[in-house]
Amino acid sequence: MTSNISRRNVLAGLGATAGLLATPHIARAQASAGRVVVIGGGFGGATAARYVKLFSPETDVVLVERDATYVTCPFSNYVLGGFRDLSSITHRRDPLRQRYGVRLVRGEATAVDTNARSVKLKDGASLPYDRLVVAPGIELNYAGVPGWSEQAANTVMPHAWKAGPQTALLRRQLEAMADGGTVIIAPPANPFRCPPGPYERVSMIAWYLKNHKPKSKILVLDAKDAFSKQGLFMAGWESQYPGMVTWIAGKDGGKVESVDPRGMTVTAGFGKEKGAVINVIPPQTAGRIALDAGLAEQNGWCAVDPASFASRKAQNVYVLGDASIAGAMPKSGTAANSQAKVVAANIAASLRGAAAPAAVYHNTCYSLVTPEYGISVTDTYRPGPQGVAVVPNSGGVSPAQANAAQRKAEANYTMGWYAGIIADTFG
């Protein structure tokens, strides 16, 4: 039955998808091996697709993704810092097809019928599934910052919280600003994608300004009172960029109340500030398809079983990565990659009627303070009664006191981590 995703339907609905034509033998997968549809080809979705194939090569895996290539949010701050270019963080998914037999379907999932077990695409095609993985990442809430809009983001006040053209726009603005200007960065309240990301961004913009526009300042207007790796970041800013960065906590009036894209001003609790460059990082929810499929809670994120990342809302559906409520795990690429392996193992086991192995999760987030000064947070997690929880007496952040060689080693490992996770995710 499910083997009828019908090449016919897909071919009719999607046009002659190159991957499909190149791998006709995969389209004839045995019905008993099951079909897995994955929505979203980022760190979570691509890893899930690859590991279902590794654990269960006979399973038919279809990866639905809107965009031709993937520009990673990790390392996009280094584009802003001026020492990576966008092409070096842009990746193709072809190895998933060529080496592992994942079928790549270019399209946008617009609806999920969890009773009929079918995903509808924008062009009308439908993809039946035995198991569905929903890994759509985040949706930005443009209405979440009064005065701001998608149009403002695309012209004068970029978010750069999905990497690509937005990253390039923010970089151009930094290049165009005069020495002596103020860069305003406005991070959102929790939860949001990449908790250390705004503060690594502060560091990388400071690196660029220090070397090119040293009279400039960075003002961080935060909705929060505390942030990831805060002690390490603030010590790093103090030692590497003395006097350049001012961070204002939400409780001290840092929370942005409105922005004026025409006047290039930001109004926060403590008053109004003019910025030469203004980076608004808005509140977020799970990606649109997760909301439309009815998989999200009132708060806009998707509740899951901490032992498997199975949806709390629908049978045979797994939600992972940024879209999920993952307990103690941050919304990070490494976390999504790790959750995807647990999901893939659960799917492979369930399709063969076996018990799933015990879930253990891992996260490592490296951040650069300078290109030669790295810091990290890493944790191991297991499912617990309150959700995914850190294994006691393990993990944590880099030591507060460390010599330059240790910081350099972590910067070096940052590069290794990136190369490794790209290989582990996209094959």
Binding site: F55, P357, H362, G395, Y413, G420, D424
Partner: protein, 102 residues
Amino acid sequence: MSFRIHILAAALVLTAGSAAAQQRIATLDDTALAAQACNVCHGSQSYLSPTMPPIRGVDAATLYTALIELKTDKRPSTIMGRISRGYSDEQLKALADYLSKN
């Protein structure tokens, strides 16, 4: 020092065999799943990291000794001390055995 030599030898073996991508994870148990976490930094049968030492195919006793020394901070590290404390000694032993053979 001997650890270095072992991992270098392992690197050579892996390089020789790295043309074909890993196609299947044969076992699906607690240890096999947990071990996949290592791939992100340390690579796998199909990928060698430019910065992290390879661990696949390294002698199990060598790996286990390294993990215990990292866990107890006898061997200095950046993040491996923090990570290895997330596992019991028995789990580390099982991981070392798995990684040595897979």
